[in-house]
Symmetry: C2
Subunit: 353 residues, 2 copies
Amino acid sequence: MTELKSGPGKTKENDQVTTETPRRQPTLDEVAERAGVSRSAASRVINNAPHVSRAKREAVRRAVDDLGYVPNATARALATQQAGSVVLAISGDDPGMFADPFFAEVVVGVNSVLEETELELMLSLATSSRGQARLEQLLRTRQADGVMLMSLHGDDPLAALAANASVPVVFGGHPLNFEPRYYVDADNRGGARLATEHLVAAGRRRIATITGRLDEGAGMARLQGFQDALAVAGLDNTLVENGEFREDGGSIAMTKLLDRAPDLDAVFIASDQMAIGALRVLARAGRDVPGDVSIVGFNDITSARHTEPPLTTVNQPIHALGREMARMLLALMSGDQPSPLILPTQLVIRSSV
Amino acid sequence: MTELKSGPGKTKENDQVTTETPRRQPTLDEVAERAGVSRSAASRVINNAPHVSRAKREAVRRAVDDLGYVPNATARALATQQAGSVVLAISGDDPGMFADPFFAEVVVGVNSVLEETELELMLSLATSSRGQARLEQLLRTRQADGVMLMSLHGDDPLAALAANASVPVVFGGHPLNFEPRYYVDADNRGGARLATEHLVAAGRRRIATITGRLDEGAGMARLQGFQDALAVAGLDNTLVENGEFREDGGSIAMTKLLDRAPDLDAVFIASDQMAIGALRVLARAGRDVPGDVSIVGFNDITSARHTEPPLTTVNQPIHALGREMARMLLALMSGDQPSPLILPTQLVIRSSV
DNA sequence: CATCGCACTGGGAGCGCTTCCAAAATCAGT
DNA sequence: ACTGATTTTGGAAGCGCTCCCAGTGCGATG
């Protein structure tokens, strides 16, 4: 098999070999010619710019229809120096982290506003360092006109990258290490406070918490909200155990907590997945929920309504988060300077308190 | 404020106005100049093509490093007529359908193979007709070099579009109306048969099913698998109720089923969400699961292990589905003609049978 | 009737890269 | 040292579009 050698016939000349016409897309020149106008005029019509007579304008329109012309986005991008796309980047060290339904819903939100524009959505799961490098190039070569960046943990190198990117960047969530200029976040701290206050209001006095990763903004904010509430109530806030944002993370942390403070009567858990794990441990330990100990989770994942008992939790407007990130990016791209946005969270009361 | 009027000085000349240099990306010409070679030579080095002397090759490499040159993807795309990206399109009539964690995991699978390549991933949620039109353009203007198309239901217009697209298309799942040339699907029929056989083996004789949308390949395949198993067992297969792929779809269908056949002793349900709804109805009706009636679901969503009782269900390799779609597309793009692929499904036994 | 202002018009120069091709340089082989 | 084969080399022509700009015509103005 000859592989790298190009075949003998020139590509352009084997048209007649096959009767089927793969029909190259018509170009602007062809449209112009058919309409009997200059390319410039045709271009103006396409972009409906002024300075073209009614007659020509219509001639061009007709030609476009006849030929089924669609402007070549790549050429346009090259000429205008605008990619016509934005990227949603999810950073993190776990390749599978995007599998969290959370992101799926963010995507839907983002899409809902992008759909109204001409912008395409690129997805960049910058988990591996390879992925991060790719994202970096993407920005440096301006293959995208803007970025929505989510979930940077601790010392995420992407943060710096984003800071001096040549395109607008909006953050989803509030990174820990620095104050991004533009971001939209859910009110994690407020939500956590709400949850904890709910526990206090229910008469609980020995309240613990299981935190998520404290090198992420959300994890830290939820811990702070917890402490806020306890400070106000004048209760002990040292019953803190931290775990991975997973089911087993919750189990492990709950076990430790039970060890440290067998008398605890409530725990605020920074994610529903962890809460599920904790619930399991509690059941095994013979503690009744909510009889002996009350539980509040965070996120309001669908599973939360099917736990035993159904989980009281904090709902955050994920779809809105995506939507607002996209809106903010659009604003930025059109030259505005939007203010950061914090979306309200809400307590969803079920039966675990 | 002068707005649209361009300032008096030409853009290129105001370098010294601001001390900060926003530093335009270097171009290939600049690299060539610095390396003292022609642009063609530089290009060859970048694409490591042959016909360039060792000395020049190194000079260019050095220049690239010094300048931090990164090829402009858009220009390259225009010159090569290759976009350098592929799109994952999810079609459907429900805008929020992508929120199903199923897709999130497919994306992760797709990403895992794309990450090894230079290809970017574009996401197209073609739910609205606007979205579909956009996708169509995307393909017509060759903004993407290939498509992975998922979840077309019944008379999805995208099917036709895809059929005569000018770029390779691989289907995720097997559409109902036509036989796609390239697709990867999960063995829905086999999985359903497995599930039903499991019910038969458990001694059940009055077995019903709740189907999903029958205008989708997967929904239909699961029904067929169910019927296959019953035919072999010589049992009645007319206890079929169809519902929406949602929790309440399951509840409604289960209610009807209980009405039609109060004596049923098992039901195979085409999705876990529906199974959850059905479980709820069963509990309310005082039927014990699995004592009075056995249940098998489909999909093995995370919630499935937290239902009461934990749900026996059919697991499909979602990550692999995404991975294989991407692989197949890659193969197609490099000129191969891969065969359709059907991924095995697996029965996950928990406590609902 | 000469002059000015303006809405059109199309030529042409890019955008940054690939790639064809003819010319130059190098390498063998005698 | 000379010819033919083989590499290297860089000029130049695109890829398809945008947009600047000089030019053309025409009604309005003095």
